[in-house]
Subunit: 421 residues, 2 copies
């Protein structure tokens, strides 16, 4: 058993690939007028017999009806999948028994139309909470999509699917990698995501679907998925809320045969990290991204806690929006993270410039460096590095972590003040 974190010794390599599903996957989309504007709002993904599945679901107590059903199916099918159906425009969350019956009806319709076992069909919804799905409009579209699957290209483009699951996203989110194995064989990994509001780590974070044509056992696929999510979806924040519908699915069609787990994990992580960055940079009202790297903590968990606290602070995030070099807010946020360190040992760098050390601003900051610091706060990306000084050298590097966020903008507030109306 190899560990996904270790480096691979082979000559195999991972390269960017065109935005297509891996082999064995066929997709179809449909419009059921769940969203306004008559856009596609249903997406169906079908995979061959023997395909495996893994998933991470929201920890919100009000997990949506489709999440409940998918969670059960993952268990009942022992990690095997035939299809996934998603809709946007309505979350089918906080909808009680009728919501559960509606999710079941979606699954049953797919199962019937594709001729596969009910428990191998996964489902999720995204959109407004507390509203019932318009089943009278959804039900007739599902058989049409299933017919579309029969005619669809194997390994067709990701984009229609990625577009159909968008809510307040401004663009579809897609990423793909090709693994070139020793001996000329190739394996593909591809993914789509929908993000925008309600993005937060420590949970499955939004809807993302990752797929590979490699043959992977359910347990290994689960390991690979969790490794990828830890490095990506669990390290970003747009608004600190956790949705009722957050989920990341991983499917493996097996068509391309076996693949070294290290390579596959690295490709999954690459796809997931690219999608996670896209989610932040398409956050509601996005103007400027912010990365907070913390090193030299007493533990790795401490590093993550400080990084997340700083990256999530409203005062820091509004300063980032304003391009305002109000770095004192960064230091203050670190100081309230609930992590023990000596304030006098903290060093703060923004855009590579040392601003704060020995408990006070660096002397140069008051002088000529002020313009450089202002420029560092005004780029498309603001890079914050905090050294806590609780550990040194290699240990300081080990006890480090990074969090990705973005400036909080007036447009974010405007969009979210009028979401349902």
């Amino acid at each position: 058993m190899t560990h996904p974190h270790a480096d691979s010794p082979s000559a195999a390599r991972i390269v960017a690939a065109t935005h297509h599903w891996p082999r064995g996957f066929r997709a179809a989309v449909g419009a059921a007028a769940i969203k306004k504007h008559g856009r596609d709002d249903l997406a169906l993904l079908a995979m061959p017999e023997g395909a495996t599945a893994a998933a991470i679901f929201t920890r919100n107590l009000f997990a949506a009806a489709p999440i409940e059903l998918s969670r059960r199916h993952l268990k009942d099918s022992r990690g095997h999948a035939s299809a996934l159906i998603l809709n946007s425009g309505c979350a089918n969350a906080a909808t009680g028994p009728r919501g559960l019956a509606n999710a079941q009806e979606m699954v049953d319709a797919v199962s019937l139309a594709l001729g596969c076992a009910t428990e191998s069909v996964f489902v999720n919804s995204t959109g407004v909470i507390g509203v019932q799905l318009p089943m009278e409009r959804i039900a007739p579209v599902i058989p049409k999509m299933a017919a579309g699957i029969a005619e669809a290209l194997d390994a067709g483009p990701l984009e229609p699917f990625a577009r159909a699951i968008m809510t307040t996203d401004t663009k579809p989110k897609m990423s793909a990698r090709r693994i070139e194995l020793d001996g000329g064989r190739t394996v593909h990994v591809a993914g789509v995501a929908k993000g925008a509001g309600m993005i937060r780590p420590d949970m499955a974070t939004m809807i993302s679907v990752l797929a590979t044509d490699a043959a992977v056992e359910p347990k290994a696929l689960d390991r690979i998925l969790r490794h990828a999510a830890d490095a990506s979806y669990h390290r970003i924040s747009v608004d600190g809320d956790t949705s009722t519908n957050d989920s990341v699915f991983a499917f493996a069609s097996g068509v391309a045969g076996a693949c070294d787990e290290i390579l596959l994990a690295r490709a999954f992580r690459g796809v997931a990290c690219e999608l996670a960055k896209m989610i932040v940079c398409d956050g509601e009202g996005f103007e400027r991204s912010l990365s907070v790297r913390v090193t030299g903590a007493a533990t790795k968990a401490d590093a993550l806690k400080v990084a997340e606290t700083v990256a999530s602070s409203l005062l820091v995030r509004t300063a980032i929006t304003g391009g305002d070099p109000n770095w004192g807010r960064i230091v203050a946020a670190a100081g309230r993270a609930g992590v023990a360190f000596r304030p006098g040992d903290l060093e703060l760098r923004v855009g590579g410039i040392l601003i704060f050390r020995d408990g006070e601003p660096c002397p140069a900051y008051e002088g000529s460096m002020k313009d450089a610091v202002r420029a560092a706060f005004n780029g498309a990306h603001v890079e914050v590095v905090i050294s806590l000084g609780a550990t040194e050298g290699a240990e300081a590097e080990t006890n480090s972590d990074e969090f990705l966020s973005c400036g909080l903008t007036t447009e974010y507030v405007r969009l979210n003040a009028d979401y349902t109306t």
Copy 2:
């Protein structure tokens, strides 16, 4: 020893009073051009020999220099006070040894000018972090203020002091109570606060000064202060950040003689709660307040955790700003609070209207009640009541708590994006 929570059996009563300091307190203000616009930015409060003190200070690791000094003085003086000096416009936080020396210089100047022991002088600052105090402008103003104290009225008006400590506050925050004791004797409690940004509980929350002319031992004053802060400053949130300078001071001049502790605690709580509400309703970009009451939790701590999570959720707070009846966000925030309850047992009321029960929206909500719910979301204050159903009857009432917050507005973001520049 009586407990401050219990009811008093006497005929004494507590009534609102004019906005004046209690007897024994004299105040003076000054302008040292720390803030722009040449407004008053220094405030000095002097009290007679024997006055007692209590204080709650920020738990931020980067506690400002004046907080460090005041914390030490509270210990060294064993809870006795002669004076308090505050400045706005500069927080003197993250300013290293020079910041500490500057805070010491402010204290020394007051001690010298008023002829009192150094350790009986308290100090705090509020404003931008990471900038040194302009001591060359502050130093000459302190003796003038001390001279002003000598000429000042005993029990003069609160307003000049309350104005001098404002930063982004739009109005001064003042509250006062008179306790009419049996036999015609009276005792006064009065307070001022500065709030706006960086308001968060679980810490001393901002700068507030509470004063009484009752004679109170330091230990009792500390009890009374903590009781008042728990019910007020620890139950509000404007942006979830915790400042480097948060503090609540309580002083007792003793001039009016002894007072029953229950009555005094109740008056302090009344003043503190009124000031806390003013802070929320003068939060940066304030448009609409939000109270979240949670009952029927398994424990009182659970109730507070859910109330705070809902009241602090960005998605809930933007919906409140928009007057958007997107109540699903309230339910979703409760579900991610990290508190155990059965989702099917939760009941949600907004403005007294039952919206959600048995895991789904109430049938009436879809119909005629929709307009009433919209109205409830569009008032000056939005009242949310959540029953978790984990306990019932008297136990449900005991295991309850409330949190006060406000809508998150585009103006909040605008103000905070350009704070230092």
